[in-house]
Amino acid sequence: MKNNNSQKNQKLRNDIILAVVIVLIATAGLLLFVFNREQGTTVSVKVNGTQIASYPLAENREVPIKTGDNDEHINVLVIKDGKASISEADCPDKICVETRAVSYAGETVVCLPHKLVIEITNQNADGGIDVAV
């Protein structure tokens, strides 16, 4: 019984070590990420892994993006005051709409159901919409 108890305490200690180590590593990674990020210049729109358009972050605009396998769905991209977000979408979960506006290089707004990724980059925008392949 005593042996059993000390084994229990040992496991509890290991649990705590595990939790603390994970939280410390994740926090350190996040801090590194936050301090190293820089303002982006361009909003890149990817559907199904293919970039279909990119826009300068500096110009305000509102673009409806056709998504889904047969362009049957829609996500509305809004670029305003140097930040990009999705204002409207007909996806079931609306997670992309709830995601906060992004402006730092590498930040993304993702719509999983429509396979859409809005990504902030530092490359220059090429303007209009290319034909999606």
């Binding site: 229990k8 496991k11 509890l12 290991n14 649990d15 595990l18 939790a19 994970i22 939280v23 590593i25 994740a26 926090t27 990674g29 996040l30 990420f33 990817k46 892994g49 079931p92 997670i95 709830e98 995601t99 906060r100 590498g106 930040e107 993304t108 993702v110 999983l112 159901p113 396979k115 990724v117 990504e119």
Partner: protein
């Protein structure tokens, strides 16, 4: 034979509970809307409980039936890919973690929660062909740890209550 019937009945029962917990989790408001994907992982309470009570084989059965029913009832083929990836990663790493015998159910549950997030993030990276969402994993690791502690504690209480009941 009698033992088999009893086993099927119990597995059916816990699968139903896991399904209800999935539904409860689905209708809960998002915990932090800026970072999608944060979940408590309520169904994992049942999966860990079964993993400890009767073993990996039953845990896989319950998990697989739950995933299939959840996709059928409130998901689609797309969400099924994510949840299967999460469940496979989670179960595999939890089993490993249980085998090494260094952690209690709480530690195993933390590993399971984080493995679940990891599986889903990896699938998302593959589908979107981008590694940019990887930093999400950092935030999800912290929230996953907190959720894992909660899930592990609840599961160990349930396991203790069922100590005298043979399944």
């Amino acid at each position: 034979m009698k033992k088999d019937i009893r086993r099927y009945a119990v597995l059916g029962l816990v699968t139903a509970v896991a399904l209800v917990l999935s539904y409860v989790e689905a209708i809960l408001p998002p915990i932090w809307s800026a970072v999608p994907g944060i979940k408590i992982g309520l169904p994992n309470i049942i999966i860990i409980f079964i993993l400890y009570k009767t073993g990996l084989k039953d845990a896989i059965t319950v998990s697989a039936i739950r995933l299939f029913l959840v996709a059928l009832l409130f998901g689609n083929a797309m969400t099924l890919i994510y949840s299967v990836a999460g469940a496979v990663f989670s179960l595999a790493l939890m089993t490993l973690c249980k085998k090494v015998n260094l952690f209690s159910m709480v530690g195993v549950s933390i590993v399971g929660g984080i493995a679940h997030n990891l599986g889903q993030i990896l699938v998302a990276m593959a589908i979107f062909e981008t590694s940019q969402i990887g930093y999400y994993m950092l935030i999800l690791s912290i929230t996953g740890t907190i959720a894992g502690v909660f899930v592990g504690l609840v599961a160990s209480v349930i396991l203790k209550r069922f100590e005298k009941i043979k399944l």
